[in-house]
């Protein structure tokens, strides 16, 4: 197990190293632009009004909230599914149904509350 994940760790490091090397090359061999606006923020060729970091509107956060309600539960489905077929009796199906019912509930609630209906 530990050896498995040492592989993963080494590969992560490898990818970072590779990326770093790839970024050093252009730093060395690429020419650089000069210009007053070269380092400015691009916005279709004109100066932007105000910052991009402003208060953002709600629908995205609502989606994020139901996702949180969902994702962890969905991940627990894997242990349920793993031995589902070969082990245990028909009562497993009932367990699955109960599990899914918990998933259906937030979805139905969000649907009812109009999260999926966009309006300005």
């Amino acid at each position: 197990m530990l050896r498995d994940f040492s592989f993963v760790l080494i590969f992560i490091l490898l990818s970072f190293l590779l990326c770093f090397l790839v970024f050093v090359v252009p730093w060395v061999i690429a020419p650089r632009s000069k210009g007053v606006k070269a380092q400015d923020i691009y916005e279709c060729g004109v100066d932007p009004f105000g910052s991009a970091w402003v208060r953002y509107f709600a629908p995205f956060y609502l989606y994020a909230l139901i996702f949180v309600a969902f994702d962890v539960d969905v991940l627990y489905l894997f242990p349920v599914a793993l031995g589902y077929w070969r082990e245990g009796g028909s009562d497993r199906f009932l367990v699955l149904l109960i599990f899914l019912a918990f998933l259906v509930f937030p979805l139905a609630y969000a649907w009812r509350k109009g999260v999926f209906w966009w309006r300005p």
């Binding site: 993963v8 252009p26 632009s33 400015d40 923020i41 691009y42 996702f67 149904l97 259906v104």
Partner: protein, 367 residues
Amino acid sequence: MRLWLKRLYRLYFQSDPFKAGLCLLAALTGVSILLGLAWLLGKALWDLGISAWGVDFLRLVLGALWVLLVLFGNALLLVWVERKVAGHMQWRIGPKEVGPFGLLQSIADAVKLMGKELVSPRYVDKPLYLLAPFLIFMPCVVVLLVIPFDPHLQIRDINVGIVLILAFSSLTSIAVFMAGWGSVNKYSLLGGMRSISQQIAYEIPMVLSIVPVVMLSGSLSLKGIVEAQKVPYLLLQPVAFFIYLISAVAEVNRTPFDLPEAESELVAGYHIEYSGMRFAMFFLAEYTNLFIVSALLTTFFLAGYKGPWLPGWAWFFIKTYLVVFVIMWFRWTFPRVRFDQLLNFSWKFLIPLAMLNLVVTGGVLKL
């Protein structure tokens, strides 16, 4: 040296069909030899057993080389294939002049991007902006670790492979959001926002469509799943297959779901401020992710490397690239959906359907 370069140049651009054919043949032979070599090495190592530290180390080194080969070879190939496929679908021929059949086109692109300036705008949030290309590249490398290209060509068969893949591919959305937020550009911010809600919306149907596969195979290791498929699960789980296909297209941000980089709305989306190699990382990640989701689709539903006559890796690559072709076909046929339609399609249609599919599967298995 100069003369040699010019000769090379002439070979590139004024090649007759004969020379072109020769070049292609040479390239194909080279790739086959490399693949065969990797296969043989993998097989030999497999036979040696995996207890010894030395063998592990060897596997690691060879695995790293293999991953690099797949990563860059695949991206170069797919860029060329995509442009060629697009060309032929659109009554034109696509890249043709750069090398035989335009085969060197993607290499020229890569080298050019290597020599391009890395602009880092003044007002960006430096840590986020600089880290995003690293983070988008990392999952691509790690996920290739567990993909079974062949019975003998899998760098490491981790027993919770699926969970690992899901965990790391979720990182992509974080990287994209970091890029969008860190650029302090309004278009990229919109792109980042879209990206993150799109990825989380389509991750759930994706997971829910994998769960029946796990139920059927009783294994979380990718190799175990392939070995458990007496018949391709496409036949047993057609609904899950289509849900996975749609979610996969959405996960890799391709038309009709390419909202985060929607060209006609958000100019270039989240990577709008990235230039040169940094942009190339996003480009590379896009094509590698395309390969990965196709490979996973092959593994889960099309019986992976299994198949008669041909060696395993050949079957694997044939199936994977077939899926890649289908996804490309989508791209050049469909318009882009609207953003709320995209999200609601997942939440209102795909997720309930996936749950229903799960219930039916569970019921049938316990009958």
